[in-house]
């Protein structure tokens, strides 16, 4: 599956931006906790605990805030400066998740913006890289 080069129209961003971010954020956190529970996401929570994160989907105007404790990921409010913010367009996030594109490549090309604690960013990047999707139904979508 190749993800086409597309950017969501600005109107969509302004529309989505006005919707409450809590449902998608809740979905993200639930997914993360599920993946962790099933040992698909090999997260060393001691490296993440006490930190706040924000995923900013630029073209969708969506900001998803969450944080981590020693056991779980939790929904967190957006607004205060997170310890780590990852910003990119939806298509680039999708490319990164499906391993069609290397996060470093996106970063070098300024398509992925990392703000805040650089080492935390590296931890998250390495965590995503270490997920073995071959044991999940997502496998058939993966580029690698």
């Amino acid at each position: 599956m190749r993800i086409p080069e597309l950017t969501l129209p600005a109107a969509m961003a302004s529309l989505l931006g006005r919707l409450p971010a809590t449902p998608p954020c809740w979905a993200l956190v639930t997914t993360l906790n599920q993946l962790k529970k099933r040992d698909i996401l090999p997260a060393d929570m001691s490296l993440l605990a006490g930190h706040s994160f924000e995923v900013h989907v630029q073209d969708a105007g969506l900001r998803l805030g969450f944080c981590a404790d020693e056991q779980h990921f939790k929904v967190a409010s957006v607004g205060t400066a997170p310890d780590l913010r990852l910003s990119a367009n939806l298509a680039d996030f999708a490319r990164m998740m499906l391993r069609e594109e290397d996060p470093d490549t996106l970063f070098f090309n300024r398509k992925l913006i990392i703000e805040g604690d650089t080492e935390l960013g590296l931890i998250v990047k390495n965590l995503l890289d270490s997920v073995d999707w071959s044991s999940t139904p997502l496998q058939r979508f993966m580029a690698v």
């Binding site: 391993r99 070098f108 300024r110 080492e119 990047k125 390495n126 270490s130 999707w133 071959s134």
Partner: protein
């Protein structure tokens, strides 16, 4: 003669289990990896292998008849070096096909404890000449040496002609402009270097400053570079920053560039290089997959018809996308670069 030369092994990096599988699935002959501590030179948080993933990775590679190398390529520090000894013990116990070592004191330990274990001399040993390599061969029976990225192709040949040790060279990846194992720039700025901590310009010292005009990259407070809007950024590796010398601001040491030896593959095969290494254990499975696939294709093509070999535009395109700074060079193999 060229026709009788065996193809060099394609040695690919793995910072995680998915990266290892990506390397194997895309045609690597050999995969190299490190443990989750400062015994290896890519000691980054969240990267590398623990006992479980190492076992699973080795099983996967061996099932596909590929080899796994364990990099223990930092220098054992101070009075208590048991961590490095344990890493060697672990490698031997896991059944890796060879251990890559930088510190000659550790080579001595590995040889004494595990007489049958195959040892490689790491690029971090800074062995740039055959006398250095032959010393390690005589003392510890090392079977392969990885050459620092500073020699011309003629100099590589000179080494090969004067040693029984197999020679591995770098083929693709971020370019170290300094002799590996002989660069302390990182610890000068941060206190941590590849030799001592297994890191270069470590992320915990990096700060990105998102200004209104430019993106600033600082390492422990030291401004390594600034990028204007739309300008491609680079990780603030010290040697790849822009600095001012006598009024000129430029990449005073090296541009953010990747090494790519594809154009030289027939010559590399011809002089008898035993293995070609891809840099990048810190990179993602996507990178490993794309680089491995491309180099596999190129290497096979060069092996089939060395006389008619030419670099296909598709290969260049695939690799340049992944290259740091999106520029590629033949590096020191090509004299003018020096």
């Amino acid at each position: 003669m060229p026709a009788t030369r065996p193809l060099p092994e394609l040695v690919c990096p793995a910072g995680s289990l998915p990266a290892l599988k990506a390397a194997v699935d895309n045609g690597a002959d050999t995969v190299y990896l490190g443990l989750k501590n400062d015994t290896n030179a890519r000691n980054f948080a969240g990267l590398n292998f623990d006992d479980r993933t190492a076992r699973e990775g080795i099983r996967y590679a061996h099932q596909h008849e590929r080899k796994v190398l364990l990099a223990i390529n930092t220098y054992a520090q101070g009075g208590d070096i048991s961590r490095w000894h344990r890493a060697i013990d672990e490698g031997a116990e896991l059944g890796v096909d060879a251990i890559i070592l930088a510190d000659i004191g550790l080579m001595e330990y590995a040889r004494r404890r595990y007489p049958a274990l195959r040892l490689h001399m790491s690029v971090q040993s800074s062995a740039t000449n055959y006398e250095a390599i032959n010393l390690a061969q005589e003392l510890f029976d090392i079977r392969r040496a990885v050459l620092p990225r500073v020699l011309t192709l003629d100099q590589v040949k000179q080494v090969i002609d004067h040693t029984r040790v197999e020679i591995e060279v770098f083929g693709f990846g971020s370019l170290c402009v300094m002799v590996e194992g002989r660069c302390l720039l990182s610890s000068y700025a941060t206190g941590e270097s590849p030799n001592s901590h297994g890191v270069c310009s470590p992320a915990k010292f990096v700060r990105w400053e998102h200004g209104s005009q430019a993106l600033g990259a600082r390492l422990n407070g030291i401004l390594i570079d600034e990028y204007q809007q739309g300008e491609a950024a680079g990780y603030p590796t010290l040697c790849k920053g822009r600095f001012e010398v006598e009024g000129d601001t430029y990449y005073a040491l090296e541009e953010p560039t990747s090494l790519n030896v594809m154009a030289m593959l027939p010559q590399i095969i011809d002089i008898g290089v035993a293995a070609i290494k891809v840099e990048g254990r810190q990179r993602s499975p996507a990178y490993v997959a794309q680089v491995t696939r491309t180099l596999r294709e190129a290497l096979d093509a060069a092996g089939r018809e060395p006389q008619r070999f030419s670099v296909k535009p598709g290969w260049t395109q695939a690799l340049s996308k992944l290259a740091e700074g999106q520029q590629q060079t033949l590096g020191a193999y090509n004299r003018p670069w020096k």
